[in-house]
């Protein structure tokens, strides 16, 4: 019998073993970004920017040129790269602490400039790497190490809807929120990420895909419960769907 190859690891991923916790969806998101790079055949012309956060070591996993950035500054670093190499594909990979908190100004202004980069925004509603502190996207009532009584809106404000906010910015060409809590949604997430990269190749402007992601470790639940928690708690507050798409807007 001849073997038929039905799956292989994307060429845009290295052979290094991922360090992410069991049940963490960072790994799935890495994989779909890498598959998209393979499918678009852009690995050799892509320069990625790794964040500070659990994905800090992304430069070990993506098999393309990478720059490691300071906390929150990835969009600025990507801007510098893209201005030097306008013909290359530049992406940032950022968590919610990185993008929505310390780096809020950088992402807003990269979008405002219509910077021709693609941002993969991994929103797990918590600071994973530093041990589960409250993030700007932690839900009201969510217990974290720094909101031990649950996030209180009157004290800590309400969770920022980054996609909705960026969608109001003229330069943000593509904005979509997706999730990776089950296979159909993983496939949708991949489609959105592919589209965002494609639009960059077409020179359309800034693109961001917000990916709802899990952090079972710091949520203090099992991986399976984590997927359920995401679906039941995050999606109602962070509704999935496309908010900006140049194709839709052209109609």
């Amino acid at each position: 019998m001849d073997w038929v190859r039905v799956w292989e690891k994307p060429k845009s991923l290295t052979d290094k073993m991922l360090h992410y916790c069991p049940g963490c969806t960072h790994g799935i998101i890495h994989k779909i970004v890498a598959e998209v790079m393979d499918e678009l055949e852009i690995r050799e012309k892509t320069i990625g920017v790794a964040p500070v956060g659990c994905a800090v070591l992304a430069y070990n996993y993506f098999n393309c040129d990478m720059q490691q950035a300071a906390h929150g500054r990835a969009p600025a670093v990507a801007t510098g790269i893209k201005r030097v190499h306008p013909d290359k594909v530049v992406f940032t990979y950022q968590g919610d602490g990185d993008l929505a908190s310390i780096g809020a100004a950088e992402i807003v202004h990269a979008a405002a400039r219509g910077e021709k980069i693609t941002t993969i925004f991994v929103n797990n509603s918590i600071y994973g790497m530093t041990g589960g502190q409250m993030s700007p996207t932690s839900l009201v009532g969510q217990v974290t190490t720094t909101s031990p009584f649950g996030r209180d809106e009157n004290h800590a404000g309400s969770p920022i809807k980054i996609s909705e906010m960026l969608a109001t910015i003229q330069g943000a060409a593509f904005v979509e929120r997706v999730s990776v809590h089950n296979v159909p949604h993983i496939m949708k997430a991949k489609k959105a990420i592919k589209k965002a990269f494609k639009l960059q190749l077409e020179g359309k402007g800034f693109g961001i895909v917000e990916v709802l992601s899990t952090c079972p470790t710091n949520w203090g639940i099992t991986p399976v419960e984590g997927l359920k928690w995401l679906e039941e708690n995050m999606i109602p507050y962070f509704p999935l769907g496309n908010l900006r798409d140049p194709e839709k807007e052209a109609k």
């Binding site: 012309k45 320069i47 040129d65 720059q67 990507a78 201005r83 290359k88 950088e106």
Partner: protein, 352 residues
């Protein structure tokens, strides 16, 4: 090439372009605004990019990206802005990326004022940002030197893969003087094989300042140290002015050094033997200049536009062998040649 009358800040911008710099990222702050203004007009003419960032924090990180991508890149600011840039500077030093950073210093701390000062000396030479790193810090004292050192700065940055700072002050930036643009002696610069340009036909490149294992980071820091030693050996610059017979040796850099030279002319007419050591690199510090005069000099006087910062390096260089005095004005007040001369006369009264 004919000399051209130019304002310091604009001359600096032109020097950067002539040195092959094609990227500038910055954020407005007085008194260096003519640098971005000049470059926003001129860089597009040569196919370069001027981009006004949303903050100094973003600007220096754009510099990080562009430098990592292999470009010659410049940013400029003034004191409060440089404070914000120190985060990025530390990362750039850690990732060993070449770039040039200009600080046209104004008085501080805090919002301070907009008049010229030399009160960022500690910040420039003793770190500023976190971690075991050094900046090469060049201190021009004429507009011509501002031009020459700016061009040289790009060469030093590329040769050693290190950020280089031009430390000027409001006077250097605003003053007009005739200048000519002569490219510096060509160095043999290593190819930027480490740059992130897309990995076609090679293994991927990574720019990074993260070293999780303590031993790895220690190794990295020791490698940086070895590089800094090499820089100190090859790149230390200073001027010794009328020090041959000097009993009293003034020490000053930048604008203050010019004021000292005027005071020296006056004092020499009175028969006082006064000279000047003018560090051109304040890191690496020119200790050698002090050794050259140690047998003849009786006293050292450090003159600064600060409450006393470089004087600590003077004390280290002199190392207790001779008395070290200090005279400084601060907050943006510029010392006059007369008051410097008066201070020297006072000290000379006690010199045996």
């Amino acid at each position: 090439m004919a000399k051209k009358l130019m304002k310091g800040n604009e001359a600096l911008g032109e020097a950067a372009i002539q040195a092959g710099c094609r990227y500038f990222f910055g954020y407005p702050i007085t008194p260096q605004n003519e640098i971005p203004s000049y470059l926003s007009r001129k860089l597009p003419e040569v196919g370069g990019v001027y981009l006004q960032a949303e903050s100094e924090v973003a600007a220096i990180n754009m510099v990080y990206g562009a430098a990592g991508a292999g470009a010659r890149v410049l940013t400029s600011s003034s004191s409060p802005g440089i404070s914000l840039k120190t985060e990025g500077i530390s990362y750039i030093a850690g990732a060993q990326l070449p770039c040039v950073i200009v600080n046209i210093v104004r008085g501080g701390p805090g919002l301070g004022g907009i008049q010229p000062a030399q009160s960022d000396y500690f910040q420039a030479t003793k770190g500023g940002g976190h971690g075991d790193y050094r900046l090469v810090v060049l201190t021009p004292s004429t507009v011509q030197e501002l031009v020459d050192l700016t061009m040289e700065a790009f060469e030093i940055a590329d040769q050693y893969r290190t950020p280089v700072m031009i430390l000027g002050d409001g006077i250097m930036g605003q003053m007009m003087e005739p200048v000519e643009f002569n490219p510096p002696k060509k160095r043999e610069l290593p190819e930027k094989t480490w740059a992130t340009t897309g990995c076609e036909g090679r293994e991927p490149n990574v720019t990074n300042s993260l070293h999780m294992a303590a031993e790895d980071l220690e190794n990295h820091n020791l490698n940086l140290l070895a590089k800094y030693k090499e820089i100190a050996q090859n790149e230390t610059k200073y001027e010794s002015y009328e020090t041959g017979d000097a009993d009293i040796v003034l020490v000053a850099y930048g604008t203050t050094a010019r004021i000292c030279k005027t005071a020296i002319a006056e004092l020499r007419k009175e028969g006082l033997k006064v000279g000047l050591i003018r560090p051109i690199t304040v890191w690496p510090y020119p200790d050698k200049a002090f050794e050259e005069v140690m047998d003849t000099a009786k006293e050292f006087v450090c003159i600064e536009m600060s409450t006393g910062q470089m004087v600590e390096d003077v004390r280290l260089a002199v190392n207790g062998r001779k008395p070290v005095h200090f005279y400084g004005r601060t907050g943006g007040v510029i010392p006059s040649p007369q008051e410097v001369a008066d201070k020297i006369r006072e000290i000379a009264g006690g010199v045996k």
